[in-house]
């Protein structure tokens, strides 16, 4: 059993809702509401769920980009929130983030070479005269031709921009990378290229990823463990093989069955969930999923199911299991 590189313990992130004349806090959006998991060194942990389930906020809270309300984030045993500003800044290069939208995450007025190299200078990791070679090297590694170093972002396609985004994170030689829906804005034929780039980089550099996605088929391809989130809580957590072979939570089952399979001869029994995702400002009492659950019981309306281990690290939060 290897020590986890990063572990999250009962993490909570609440955003206050201001209202009234004096802008007092009238409630909270519980974006992340008590999530725990651990990511082993060199593995890819997938976080899946629908929009508004708190998966992105979890990623940002881990990197201290959103304020936590409670809980712990341990990186190599060190609580990130216990670090002062100076120490946290020193650690930043090791913890990097790749964004979803390659169009809005690059400054259109900055040449890509400068955008990629910026953080290296900022952190004083390299003398200026060596920077250019380092940037070119990183671009090459991410499948970008080094000739493009003096071009501007608008001259690149979506897939290439995402490679730039990855290069920006990679040049700092990080240990851990949060990839927040890095391929959902891309075309199908380009998605495959970026997925392969992620796995190549992992093999070459021994990176650890937190891969946030709403697409279970991508997560299955890339990740070794998967957490399924619903309305700020972890519904199910297991390693990949176990989760796909033996999904236990009704929400996981529904998610799996909702994905269209590119084979017209397969006609599956599909679990179509009724209704929409409730608002995280006012989540249902009891099990948060009970309003849409096809097998909900009376007990689910009152009692919050705890996340329990059902064997071999497979955890699920459901009264039925």
């Amino acid at each position: 059993m290897t020590e986890p590189l990063l572990s999250v313990e009962d993490l909570k992130t609440y955003f206050p809702i201001k209202g009234g004349v004096f802008r007092t806090t009238v409630g909270h959006v519980k974006a992340v509401d008590g999530v725990s998991f651990a990511i082993k060194n060199g593995e890819t942990f997938g976080l899946v769920g629908e929009s508004g389930c708190g998966k992105s906020t979890t990623g940002r809270t881990i990197l201290r980009l959103a304020p936590k309300t409670a809980g712990k984030v341990l990186y190599k045993g060190q609580d990130l929130y216990a670090l002062n500003k100076h120490d946290m800044r020193k650690l930043r290069p090791k913890l990097q983030l790749v964004f979803q939208d390659p169009y809005s995450s690059l400054n259109p007025r900055i040449k890509v070479g400068d955008a990629i190299g910026e953080a290296m200078l900022d952190h004083g990791l390299i003398p200026r005269r060596e920077l250019r070679d380092r940037v070119k090297e990183t671009m090459q590694l991410c499948g970008l031709s080094p000739h493009y170093i003096d071009r501007y972002p608008h001259e690149f396609s979506g897939g290439q921009r995402q490679r730039i985004g990855i290069a920006r994170a990679l040049i700092l030689n990080p240990d851990f990378m949060v990839a927040d829906e890095p391929i959902s804005a891309l075309d199908v034929s380009i998605q495959a290229q970026i997925i392969n780039l992620f796995s190549d980089l992992q093999q070459e550099k021994g990176l650890t990823y937190l891969f946030i996605s709403h697409d279970l088929s991508v997560v299955e391809h890339l990740c070794s463990s998967i957490g399924v989130m619903y309305l700020g809580s972890m519904a199910e957590l297991a390693d990949k093989d176990e989760l796909f072979k033996n999904p236990l939570h009704p929400y996981t089952k529904a998610l799996l069955s909702a994905i269209p399979v590119p084979d017209p001869t397969v006609r599956r029994e599909r679990i179509v969930l009724t209704g929409d995702i409730p608002s995280p400002a006012n989540p249902p009492a009891g099990c948060k999923f009970h309003t849409r659950c096809p097998v909900a019981m009376e007990r689910c309306r009152h009692e919050v199911p705890a996340l329990r281990d059902v064997g071999a690290g497979h955890q699920v939060a459901c009264h039925l299991v």
Partner: protein
């Protein structure tokens, strides 16, 4: 054998931009039969949306329909007067869009937006139109239709807004529903609901659907007939079973292989190398040549003819042109 409802014949739509003329739709021909779901697949910029907009005659400057015919029930839409066109749009031809938030008017109540096309196209009293609108809201599977009738778009979720878009489109019982990436902006569980709903409605209304998508999973689930587009041209078309069993064009094959599929593990994903060519700089050769694994000399010199090879399976590829040149 069902009749053809829509026939695209050598349609050309060009955008005259500063960077040159972009042939967004470049000699596109295919048919949509009555009661059939035709999926148009391709990546962004391949011309699938512009094909649909040409059919609605909603291409705006600098775009222009420059040639060809679009027959709707045998009549050429491109020759119809603006008045005739207004009578078709929202009535026999309806369209729903990808982003349900930006296609609904935020300052009008849901009910008014559903009633608008009904009052425009039918001789009906306002009271009956309201009744019809409430029926439509419950038809698309939204509970409490009276309350929803009086609410504003911002009060609804993405999935509900897309249902409202469908309700508006169905108001006059159209013969053809054009759905341009209707589920792309939605979550998977909501996508499943909307696709289910569309399947139910096609039976109820006996209409045809032109479904534009980039998701081959959606194609497999929904389509009767598939048209694959690349860089403004149709590269392959056939019925859905044949397409998935026996894809012919290397681009179609690549798309099918590049998509990760649940419960089918592989070490590495197949990738189509390179990227979509700049639409303003297309030559006379096959547009896919630079990305194609089985590219031959002729592919770089001449665009392949679009031909039917067997049983309605049409493709534009030199690989199938001559005997003995099989891959």
């Amino acid at each position: 054998m069902a009749k053809d409802l829509v026939e695209f014949r050598h349609l050309r739509t060009t955008f005259h931009t500063e960077g040159g003329a972009v042939k967004a739709v470049n000699d596109v021909s295919f048919n949509i039969k009555e009661g059939e779901i035709v999926c148009v697949v391709g990546e962004s910029g391949c011309g699938k949306s512009v094909t649909a907009l040409s059919l609605m005659r909603l291409v705006s400057l600098p775009g222009k329909i420059e040639g060809g015919e679009i027959l709707f029930e045998g009549k050429d839409i491109l020759k119809a007067s603006d008045r005739e066109m207004r009578r078709l749009r929202g009535n026999q031809l309806s369209m729903i869009f990808q982003e349900p938030m930006s296609s609904l008017n935020p300052v009008l109540k849901i009910g008014e937006q559903i009633m608008e096309p009904i009052l425009e196209h039918q001789i009906i009293s306002k009271k009956d139109a309201k009744k019809r609108a409430i029926e439509l809201i419950s038809l698309v599977g939204i509970p409490r239709p009276e309350a929803i009738f009086a609410s504003y778009p911002h009060e609804l979720s993405g999935g509900m807004r897309q249902r409202i878009m469908i309700a508006i489109a169905l108001g006059c019982e159209p013969k053809l529903l054009i759905a341009d990436e209707p589920t792309t902006a939605l979550d998977v569980t909501i996508q499943a609901q909307i696709l289910e709903l569309m399947k139910e409605l096609i039976e109820k209304f006996n209409m045809s659907i032109m479904l534009i998508t980039h998701d081959l999973g959606v194609v497999a689930e929904m389509a009767d007939y598939v048209v694959v587009m690349y860089a403004g041209k149709v590269v392959e078309e056939t019925n859905v079973l044949e397409l998935f069993k026996n894809p012919r064009h290397p681009y179609t094959k690549g798309l099918l292989k590049a998509k990760p599929v649940i419960n089918q593990r592989m070490e590495r994903l197949y990738t189509i190398p390179g990227q979509v060519p700049n639409p303003a700089e297309l030559g006379n050769h096959c547009f896919f040549a630079d990305r194609c694994e089985s590219c031959m000399d002729i592919c770089r010199r001449q665009y392949p003819p679009f031909k039917e090879y067997e049983d309605g399976h049409k493709t534009a590829c030199w690989l199938y042109e001559k005997e003995g040149m099989q891959p």
